[in-house]
Amino acid sequence: MPRTPVERRWLAGHLGLVYLFLYGPIVVLIVLSFNKSGLPTAWTGFSTEWYGRLAANPAILAAARNTLIVAVGSTLIATAIGTLLALGLETVRPGPVLEGLVFAPMVIPDIVLAIALLSFYALLNVSLGLHSIILSHAVFNIAFVCAVVRTRLKHFDKSIVEASIDLGAGEVTTFFRITLPVIFPGVLAGALLAFTLSVDEFIIAYFTSGAGRASTTFPMQIYAMIRFGVTPEINAVATIVLGVSFTLVLLSQRLNRDFVR
């Protein structure tokens, strides 16, 4: 490559700064979460006090429980429907309209989707609560699961489906014994992605949760804490959330990589 070592060093330095930019704030939060004083102004010693306070905070625990319910619910729905959708799209040749429809939930600004769903629910007089959040989250999760599974399907040798039928298996048997096991890493990766997105999602949950405290999700709780009352527990919250996200994403990556072999 016609590039001098000097150039490479400049570029490498730049890349290092980029990583610093990306991870610096994260590291700061993690460090702060262990700061005894809990304030960014002074480091007064290592402490897990804030994690302890967190565990005893009923509002946060309730919000976490709600988020878990919503995430699991919307992920289950989205994984099943999204996988079927991906399989369907790969058998027909989807025109631009169909592609656009399946792509739309991923690009539409979340605030627009939030108000649209709220208007829709209001019009139908649907009661709002965790269930409406689950239905709403499933919308973009279906699109994401579908996208991930479709990528996996590009490497899928369709003739093994025909081979299975040729050997005497019916459609349903073929789906459960051949198709699903072979695409399973992709399905799992999609599910993990959907779970992560649902856990992190704020604005749609905020609009479609209704007024009750019983349907406050974790991000809604975090937003309230940031906006209206910053306590040091939030750093502990942040660290835990980051840890969980990173683990899930790395796991999802691992699954996808193992299969591309």
Binding site: S159, A163, G168, T173
Partner: protein
């Protein structure tokens, strides 16, 4: 066992849009026969195979197996199995699992299942690889697993889609003989789709040469090679010399070359446009001392000599002809010794070895 053919196709037509991939095609495959569907890409051979397997439905026509109409029968219920071009092995099953799959679908299990799987693997000589996964096998081994998987179900007909296309030349030669052996051993009718005419000649008992969805010629390898019925068949199989001219007594009259001898059937009237077709190995070359007349026979100039080891392929330029005459003779023969590039040479052939085609 029924006395008739095991597989019959009657007037099958399959259209994709305005194009008929298979066009009113009829043929019959006998029991214990090695049958080849040969043709260039796009001729409809793969479509026909998929019609027999049941993955496509014919727009017109019927398909019968042992006399029974199976046109409406779903592919997983037909006693017909296929070896796919990509082998289509299940990546998440072992070799044993792959071969056992079809038997499991029949409801077989336990010791009987294991016995039949083992027998099938032994037949393709893969007995000690039963525990391996497909990605751990070579291309040739994967193919044999695909064969075993289909054969273990003892279908009435085994369909093979370009079975040797993915193999290198040496392996291809070995597998050709291997497939013949398997067919003899199992007694199952094999229906092979291929675009390689040499392969079809080596392996098949009978060949159907397809073109644009129709049969151009159906016969034994010898029939197709020595008695091609039309220009397409003559040109597709092996190398052939063609001379365009008009029918005359005793042969074909070609402008600029005179009467070329051939066995004329006598059905068509003299003067009809006809093509004379003669194989390179039937052409006799006699080196001439000079370009002076050799008694009115065909005279040309040697344009090039290709050494093939055992044989020579000689290109002879003839006056007024665009394409050279190609002759094949053994390297060690007397005629071969006398040949050199640029030298004049006299060409002829036994009239009964030249065919006259009027299509």
């Amino acid at each position: 066992m029924t006395a008739g053919p095991v597989l019959e196709i009657e007037g099958a037509t399959k259209r994709f849009g305005p194009v008929a991939a298979v066009d009113r095609l009829s043929l019959a495959v006998d029991e214990n026969e090695f049958f080849a569907l040969l043709g260039p890409s796009g001729c409809g051979k793969t479509t026909l195979l998929r019609l027999i397997a049941g993955f496509e439905q014919p727009d017109e026509g019927r398909i019968r197996l042992d006399g029974r109409d199976i046109t409406a029968v779903r592919p997983n219920r037909r006693p017909v199995n296929m070896m796919f071009q990509s082998y289509a092995l299940f990546p998440h099953f072992s070799v044993h699992g792959n071969v056992a799959y079809g038997l499991e679908m029949e409801g077989l299990h336990g010791a009987e299942l294991k016995r039949r799987v083992a027998a099938a693997l032994d037949m393709v000589r893969l007995g000690d690889l039963a525990g391996r996964r497909p990605h751990q096998l070579s291309g040739g081994q994967r193919q044999r697993v695909a064969l075993a998987r289909a054969l273990v179900k003892r279908p009435r007909v085994l369909l093979l889609d370009e079975p040797l296309a993915a193999l290198d030349k040496k392996l291809r030669g070995e597998m050709q003989l291997e497939l013949k052996r398997l067919q003899h051993e199992t007694g199952i009718a094999f229906l092979v789709v291929t675009h390689d005419q040499e392969e079809a000649l080596v392996m098949a008992d009978r060949i159907a040469l397809l073109r644009d969805g129709r049969i151009a010629q159906l016969g034994t390898p010898r029939d197709l090679y020595e008695r091609p019925a039309n220009r397409f068949a003559a040109g597709f199989i092996g190398i052939m010399n063609f001379f365009a001219g008009r029918l005359a007594a005793g042969g074909v009259a070609v402008d600029g070359l005179g009467l070329l001898p051939a066995a004329v059937g006598g059905v068509a009237a003299p003067g009809t446009p006809a093509t004379l077709a003669v194989r390179p190995e039937r052409v006799r070359l006699v080196p001439m001392l000079s370009a002076a007349g050799s008694g009115g026979g065909l005279v040309g100039t040697v344009e090039g000599i290709a050494y093939l080891g055992q044989d020579l392929l000689v290109h002879v330029r003839l006056a007024g002809q665009a394409a050279p005459l190609i002759a094949r003779l053994p390297s060690g023969s007397a005629a071969a010794e006398g040949l050199s590039e640029g030298a004049p040479v006299a060409c002829d052939w036994p009239p009964e070895q030249a065919r006259v085609l009027t299509d």
